[in-house]
Amino acid sequence: MADGVKPRVKVPKKAAAGDTITIKTLISHKMESGQRKGKDGNLIPRSIINRFTCEFNGKSVIDVTMEPAISTNPYVEFDSMVPEAGEFKFTWYDDDGSVYETAKQIAIG
């Protein structure tokens, strides 16, 4: 696992059924592109988050393939329709095989 990785997510606590809400996500990650050289002249190995997904009650909301040009601490903001109360599950996949997860509940009201 890369150092200092911490996911953060902002989801409204509740919404009316059928409402569209805005979700903000940010994960602290160095996103080393694999194209830079270190002080010793050798390439610094690539270490990025290569995929981000969000599911609502098991159904895919967004599935993003991420590339090396994305800068440090990737921030992803998107909209989602909320048909019912439930749980948003967020998953980030690291190059080194680590998987970072977090989840947020949303109520109808």
């Binding site: 200092g4 911490k6 953060r8 902002k10 940010l26 602290s28 800068s71 601490n73 921030y75």
Partner: protein, 283 residues
């Protein structure tokens, strides 16, 4: 001739838009929909070269400005979060954490950032926040001092700054600190480097104008530590000074040196009255 007149007109238009882009705008800044930030105010009487103080926030694009209006969007808050953990973590031979003496930073550190750099009676010198933090670490915690402009200390300054956001900067320029303040003023107006530039040449005489592709601000410290999009991390005041002096093509003073401490006191006093924004977001 008509063609020539048209190019002249186009040139004039380009200059107008160029100027409008670089000038400070009239937006207002509220953080998290609750902290009102004073980003423009009258200059203190002891500042000759400025009539109105303008926060560097005004010189940025709308997109960059927006990043500062919400803690979730502000990447500088990642540093604050990291420092919150360190605040609670014991370090050094005494087995103490910051929290053991200072309890909750949200309560005990309110207003601290506004008065630093400040005269320290025991040390008989002007201390910056970084020096105060390292003083705590070496004297009370039995821990090693952090590198003056390293990430650890800059994150901690960001945490201490974040709880004072909205409060006006109010460093003391008289009393025992006065000699250091005078020294800082001297440095501010001293030209350095092959380009023969003083701080004032850019930040007093030319704020609002472009310096190559970037806007010149008035160079206040109220937004520090500043998250810069160019290097994607929090930058301390002295690291910024170093960058500025280097850009005049001079050999720079070291971060934490008496010269930079004096300069920080003087520059901070030039912003007395502006709200603390740190960690701010800039280019």
């Amino acid at each position: 001739m008509k063609f020539k007149a048209m190019t002249a007109l186009a040139g004039a238009l380009a200059m107008v838009t160029g100027g409008a882009l670089a000038d400070a705008d009239d937006d207002t800044l509220t953080i998290n929909e609750e902290i009102e930030i004073i980003t423009k105010t009258d200059a203190p009487a002891y500042i000759d070269g400025l009539s109105e103080l303008i926060s560097g926030w005004h010189f940025r694009s709308d997109e960059t400005q927006q990043l500062e209006t919400d803690d979730f969007d502000n990447p500088g808050m990642l540093g604050v979060e990291a420092a919150m953990e360190v605040w609670e973590t014991a370090d050094g031979s005494e087995g103490k954490s910051c929290a053991d003496c200072h309890e909750s930073a949200e309560e005990t550190m309110v207003g601290v950032r506004a008065v630093y750099p400040k005269w320290n009676d025991n040390a008989e010198a002007v201390w910056t926040l970084e020096m105060a933090i390292n003083g705590c670490r070496t004297e009370r915690m039995g821990a090693e001092a952090w590198k003056y402009d390293g990430d650890d200390i800059t994150n901690m300054v960001a945490l201490i700054s974040s709880v004072s956001r909205g409060m006006p900067m109010s460093v003391a320029v008289d009393g025992p600190a006065q000699a250091t303040w005078e020294e800082g003023k001297e440095l501010y107006y001293t030209r350095t480097g092959q380009l023969d530039l003083s701080c004032a040449n850019c930040h007093e005489d030319n704020y609002g104008n472009m310096i190559r592709a970037d806007h010149l601000s008035q160079g206040h410290t109220n937004g520090f530590p500043t998250y810069r999009l160019k290097n994607a991390k929090l930058n301390s005041v002295h690291a910024r000074f170093k960058g500025c002096v280097r850009d005049t093509r001079a050999e720079t003073y070291a971060p934490g040196s008496p010269e930079f401490v004096a300069l920080e006191l003087y520059v901070a006093s030039r912003g007395n009255g502006l709200s603390i924004e740190g960690p701010a977001v800039r280019n």
